[in-house]
């Protein structure tokens, strides 16, 4: 097999790790609260700015900057839930979608207002590994590993803890859960905070690989939705697998043509698959 193709495939798998993390966060929120956060990728953008400013401007060590970013994005998740999602919880789904779309506008333009449209890079250069003639960037490998660890931790949290069980229960039956003595509002808050924290974690990983600018969310946002829908909205395992399918299409498509066309291919694949399996590939 062509070595460059192999490299593309490996990079695709590595990209899939980060996408899977983002898809998990979005799926968790959708599964529990039943609202699609269109602005999810823009929360990642906010996290990247936090890291950039803490690390590059104020000299905070990178790991601490990352922790602060994760914590502040968790807080942002809470604020978003309280200010925007809670008031529209009983509105038609499309209004909820649009409310978070308004948030997308707000976050992107507020970031433009504050930071301008410059591309900023935290300037951390991690080594590039060479394995049997294949070059793998360490930052991507790290992103993949941390993405997987994040996914496993989330899984354990949902399986092993009381509140995790409550979260899974609420995703299964919203109406009965109140009768079981679980406070819905508290679960919603916890879920929003976890969703925000996952976006913050993804921000840490992406800040190592990409420049941050106000519209970076547009690069990832549509892809993440596509992944979630493909896996079945709210279906976390489906979303996890779908991330790797999509990242492979993007990587291999990029190898044979160029990046834009590989995304065109991925989106077209998504549209076609929606017609074959309208509720996602893993719908029962």
């Amino acid at each position: 097999m062509d070595i460059y193709l192999l490299e593309a495939i490996i990079n695709g798998i590595l990209l899939g790790g980060v996408l899977a993390l983002l898809a998990l966060g979005l799926n968790l929120i959708f599964g529990v609260i039943d609202v699609v956060w269109i602005a999810y990728a823009d929360i990642v953008m906010c996290g990247m700015y936090v890291i950039y400013f803490l690390y590059s401007e104020y000299g905070v060590p990178l790991p601490i900057a990352c922790l602060i970013a994760i914590a502040s994005m968790a807080a942002l998740g809470l604020v978003i839930h309280l200010l925007i999602i809670a008031p529209v919880l009983n509105s038609p789904p499309i209004n909820q979608l649009l409310a978070t779309g308004g948030l997308l506008f707000f976050l992107q333009s507020f970031a433009t207002l504050l930071f301008g449209t410059d591309f900023r890079n935290i300037g951390v250069r991690l080594p590039i590994l060479e394995v049997a003639g294949i070059y793998i960037s360490f930052s991507r490998l790290l992103a993949f590993a941390v993405g997987l660890i994040g996914a496993v931790m989330l899984f354990l949290f949902l399986k092993r803890t009381y509140i995790g069980t409550a979260i899974r229960a609420i995703a299964q039956d919203r109406d009965i859960i109140g009768l079981m003595g679980v406070d819905q509002r508290r679960i919603y808050l916890v879920t929003s905070a976890i969703g925000g924290a996952l976006a913050g974690l993804a921000a840490c990983l992406l800040a190592l690989q990409y420049d941050v600018h106000p519209f970076i969310g547009n690069t990832f946002g549509p892809v993440i939705f596509m992944i979630c829908v493909l896996g079945g909205l709210g279906n976390m395992i489906g979303g996890f697998i779908a991330s790797f399918i999509i990242s492979q299409i993007i990587a291999i498509g990029g190898y044979y043509s160029n990046t834009e066309l590989s995304y065109v291919l991925a989106f077209t694949f998504f549209i076609v698959l929606m017609f074959v399996r309208p509720r996602g590939i893993f719908a029962r």
């Binding site: 789904p93 499309i94 992107q108």
Partner: protein
């Protein structure tokens, strides 16, 4: 003659007389407001029935690029190019909408499928940079004042064209609103299976309104391109444009005839006003305020400005439909 009708004619007379008295800058604004109002009205045709499309950026992009490319490379007059672009958009809408409606891809899923469509068009336009100039944009070949090329340096021509388009948009909206289709579509948006059970051809009604909506959007995109003489994938296509359309309509009022127009008036004056006020130092300011307003609108006025105002006049029996199904 009712008061409403007299007001409408008076308003129209003022609109027709405007180019004679307004400075070019305001005329430029008015043209934009009318063009966008037309596109927003086209979107609202289907949006008001709960088919929320994020794919109208795709239709607008196709409508704008096809005539511009055909004219610049092959010298084909936009009089043929525009219908081709509109036809292509309608075909695209059919290709996407038919399976969607057939397989009952609705709600979130429909919104996200159409979102993918606008990304496909955006990225294809960007990727074909040898022809379209990619994200640097595309400037159609200039021909001066020419009916053949549908290019007019004087703004008054495009003012007349966009005024006409806008009126056509309102007319189509009215036709759908007054026709039997409206009852059918409202029934469908409330309960598709029940609608089918009482003998409504669900698929045909939905496709009908979708194709009209996509074609009008493409027409708006074409005129937009002819007027600005500059096309950029990001300003005529893609997720940003699709969201812009959806939001302006929601802000203005999705269930009312003039709602989309008010949305266009409001958003453009806001953007321009803030731009003039703040200068270019605060490029994000306008959209920041815009974003906040949108969130507030959706939380507190889900029927938009016009819808809310009409809702206050409780004595009016023939108001728009009450708050959408919850």
């Amino acid at each position: 003659m009712s008061i409403g009708r007299i007001a409408a004619f008076a308003g129209l007379a003022i609109l027709i007389a405007l180019p004679a008295i307004t400075p070019p800058y305001f005329l430029h604004l008015l043209i934009q407001i009318l063009l966008w109002a037309f596109i927003y009205t086209a979107w609202a045709l289907m949006g008001r029935f709960g088919f929320v499309s994020f794919g109208h950026g795709a239709f607008m992009g196709v409508g704008a690029y096809v005539p511009a490319l055909l004219w610049s490379y092959y010298g084909l007059t936009p009089w043929i190019g525009i219908p081709l672009g509109v036809g292509l958009s309608a075909l695209l809408a059919l290709i996407i909408a038919y399976p969607c409606f057939r397989l009952k891809v609705v709600g979130h899923y429909f919104a996200l499928v159409t979102l993918a469509l606008s990304q496909v068009v955006l990225l294809s336009l960007t990727a074909a940079r040898d022809i379209t100039g990619g994200s640097l944009g595309f400037t159609p070949k200039a021909a001066g004042h020419s009916w053949y090329a549908l290019q007019f340096p004087e703004k008054s021509y495009f003012y007349a064209i966009s005024l006409l388009l806008w009126l056509i948009g309102l007319y189509v909206w009215r036709r759908v609103d007054r026709g039997i289709s409206r009852e059918a579509l409202e029934a469908i948006s409330e309960d598709e299976d029940a609608a089918a059970a009482v003998g409504i051809n669900v698929l045909r009604e939905k496709l009908h309104v979708t194709i009209i909506s996509a074609s009008l959007t493409a027409l708006g995109g074409a005129i937009y391109g002819q007027y600005f003489m500059y096309l950029n994938p990001d300003t005529v296509s893609g997720i940003a444009v699709s969201l812009q359309i959806v939001f302006a309509v929601i802000a203005g009022g999705i269930y009312s005839l003039l709602g989309p127009t008010v949305g266009s008036l409001l958003t453009l004056s806001l953007t321009e006003g803030l731009r003039v006020w703040f200068g270019t130092n605060f490029i994000g300011a306008a959209n920041t305020i815009y974003g906040i307003l949108l969130i507030l609108c959706i939380i507190f006025m889900p029927r938009g400005i016009v819808g809310t105002l009409q809702g206050m006049k409780v004595w009016r029996r023939t108001g728009p439909k009450a708050v959408p199904a919850e």
